[in-house]
């Protein structure tokens, strides 16, 4: 991985982390999109082979430390998400944004489910209302995808 790619990917994840914990009114918290998961998916589609499961795992660990989850909870879910994306990425790249959004709904939904499973298995409790963040992620996907691919094209990262 060249340094340029490393920096751009890191900065995009930094922005995603900031979005992930930015204080919002309580009601909007229920529909906060999963920015970090979306960023993982984007870079796996844009730079396959450079960003993959290991990146997802590392970002998951950081997300756990940031959000105060069990250490490894998001890492677990993001790794699973990255694995699924790895299976699907050739198809996903050919889809138009709308079709991609539909797949994002499923992928982020799975991610949320893994997150919930892990938490409820180890702590015996977990959050409900899993669907709303996945729907929000699907809605925000075209915007986030457009923004990141603009950056990618401007900087000619391949």
């Amino acid at each position: 991985m060249s340094w340029r790619i490393f920096w751009v990917v890191s900065v995009s994840f930094f922005v995603a982390f900031v979005f992930a914990v930015f204080p919002l009114p309580r009601l909007l918290d229920f529909i906060r999109p999963e920015w970090v998961a979306m960023t993982v998916i984007f870079w796996m589609l844009a730079l396959p082979g450079r960003v993959g499961i290991f990146t997802a795992f590392a970002m998951g660990l950081l997300l756990d430390a940031l959000e105060g989850h069990l250490l490894g909870q998001s890492a677990f879910a993001l790794t699973a998400l990255a694995y699924l994306t790895g299976l699907l990425y050739q198809r996903l790249r050919l889809y138009n944004p709308l079709q991609q959004s539909a797949m994002i709904l499923v992928l982020i939904g799975t991610y949320q489910l893994m997150h919930y499973w892990a938490e409820s298995m180890i702590l015996g409790r977990g959050e409900t209302l899993l669907v709303l963040p996945s729907i929000a992620s699907a809605i925000f996907w075209p915007v986030w995808h457009g923004l990141l691919s603009y950056v990618q094209q401007q900087l000619r990262l391949h």
Binding site: P23, R26, D29, F30, I53, L71, Y83, E127
Partner: protein, 269 residues
């Protein structure tokens, strides 16, 4: 393989928090800039607000603060003699002397994005001596306790969180109870209160210090509703937290001398 690794990590974190503490500290160095970044807009807004305040408003505020300070210092004078008297009386009863608590001021720099919990992030961490389980106050009452310490920030669970409980007593007559969070930011609940217990609306609940975690005598909540449901085993008692849980920006971390407990990383809050 990584899935297995993260599964191990999770179980490890749940079972052996003393080791996970170091991993968290290490990760904390990376995530702290994100927390600062998130807090920046608020701080910029605060700063802009302060610098744009007009001279007359400042003078008004200054006068008001001076006035308050005068009242407070008068109260402090009384307190000195009262405390001396109290300690003499405690001496007579051969009870241990009450000491002042040392406090450290901190600022809330973030709120947990998870809508199912009530956690806040404060701008002090292990470098300032913050430890897990440390009580957190604001100017009106108890807010919660520290549950996670990173190098420069820490996470505080508020008393309204549904996973939090605190031993309290009614300041009027000393009736003891346990106050648990309900998940609503402006309501906590007393559990296992017998029907006959003398608790009324408007009673002030103070921390009883019985859990060896919170220092004794800080206001926790004011009873807002007492109901007796026929068929329920216990009375239903709701209370409104005294601290401004969802509004306070400036909080105090207490280093209590009454019941000093060494930091135990493995403790569940």
């Amino acid at each position: 393989m990584l899935l297995v690794l993260s599964a191990f990590l999770m179980v490890g974190d749940a079972r052996y928090p003393q080791y996970a503490f170091y991993a968290r500290q290490a990760l904390g160095y990376v995530v702290t800039p994100v927390q600062w970044m998130v807090a920046t807009p608020l701080q910029v807004a605060d700063w802009a607000d302060e610098s744009a305040t007009s001279r007359s408003t400042l003078m008004e505020e200054n006068a008001r603060l001076k006035h308050e300070q005068l009242i407070l210092s008068q109260k402090v004078q009384q307190m000195v003699s009262l405390r001396a008297e109290n300690n003499r009386l405690r001496d007579l009863l051969s009870a241990s002397e009450k000491l002042d608590d040392k406090v450290l001021a901190a600022e809330v720099i973030g709120v947990d994005p998870d809508p199912y919990t009530h956690h806040v992030i404060i701008n002090r961490g292990s470098d300032a001596g913050v430890f897990k389980g440390q009580p957190v106050l604001d100017e009106n009452g108890l807010m919660g306790q520290v549950i996670e310490v990173l190098p420069f920030t820490s996470r505080v669970i508020l008393i309204a969180d549904s996973n939090h409980a605190i031993p309290v007593q009614v300041s009027r007559n000393g009736v003891r109870a346990i106050a648990v969070g309900t998940g609503k930011i402006d309501e906590i609940e007393l559990i296992y209160v017998p029907y006959t217990a003398d608790i009324q609306e408007g009673d002030v609940l103070v921390s009883s210090g019985l859990g060896q975690r919170f220092p004794e005598g800080y206001p926790v909540a004011v009873v807002s509703k007492v109901a007796h449901e026929p068929g329920e085993a216990f009375a239903i008692v709701k209370a409104r937290p005294s601290g401004a849980l969802d509004r306070s920006r400036h909080v105090l971390l207490v280093f209590s001398k009454q019941n000093i407990k060494p930091p135990v990383f493995g403790d569940k809050p």
